[in-house]
Amino acid sequence: MYDYYDYRAVAHFDKKMKTFKKNKFVFNNILKAIEKLRTNPYYNSEQLSGKKGKRKHDLRPNYRLIFAICEECRNLNFIRNNGCSNCEENDDNTLVLFDVGPRENFYNKLNM
């Protein structure tokens, strides 16, 4: 556990963030969530079952951010699951941001 974590985002995360730029509420909430996670990524986040090595953090309005903590990934041997090609470049106190988007979408297509 470190005092402060760096982060790296996969290109897809960056692309998603650009789509949220028009929605200031969502965009700012994501930035705030990232800052919170940088001080304590274990707080308010849960490991995703079945997606070993990844964690999720909930944020308003019903969104979820999926990330990995390099320290946890190495300690629990999830390196193969996450498969980051730049693994050696990241220190233990790095967060890898994978994805962000709305939750509970399964039935949404029925209402269209």
Partner: protein
Amino acid sequence: MINIEKIDEKYVIAAREGKGYISTIRLYLKSSDLRMEVTMADPKRVRGYTEALTDNILLMHIISKARRGDLGTTKLAKLVYLIECKLAKDKIKTFNYHFKRDNFGPFTKEIYEDLEALEENDLIVPETLKLTERGKDILKQCSELFESDVAPKIDGIIERYDKLSLDEIKKLIYNSKAPLEFGAPKKIKNIPLGTDLKIGISEKDAKAKFMPDWWGETLDIYLDDESCASLNEAMRDAREGRFCTLNGAF
């Protein structure tokens, strides 16, 4: 343009007091007047989101397990009823559907909604009631879920009743007893049409359940085609080294 916020206050109050919530809103024209009809749902008979996801993954499991080749929506619904009903008697929580007595035995429209959602998310082919390649892949990725003690019990019921024809299952269910909300259990054929059947089991009464709570979020990602595709793309980026620098991100 109709403002949905102008919904009658009495429904909002009922929802706030936990007496139910709005399940459907129908807008229609009557003698050139726009009318609104609101249906309230009983909170005791509404599935939670994670419960609904559990139902969907189990539906996919039945579809993948059915071997007789005559699985249609009606037979699927009957198998669901048998699993939910029989395992609830052993205090095992599996499906979370709310059945009513209908013309052809126990019925719930929730199954039809789920099949539609599974189709929309590219998990089943509705015409043949078979899993798509994505459906098969998702089920494989959820294999850990089917390693629990509950899964063999579910499989046992599928194996036992899938062998029967639809008519045989219908007959069997017609003559079986179902617990009711009020009063002693009765044979399905003697229950008045439209009566709610109380076959499920609540979370607090269950000794075991098929899906652990912590799987809810993962299923939400797996089953929703957009979330799943999005995360897969992110993982592909990670594997192929497409990262943003700290300063360049967002």
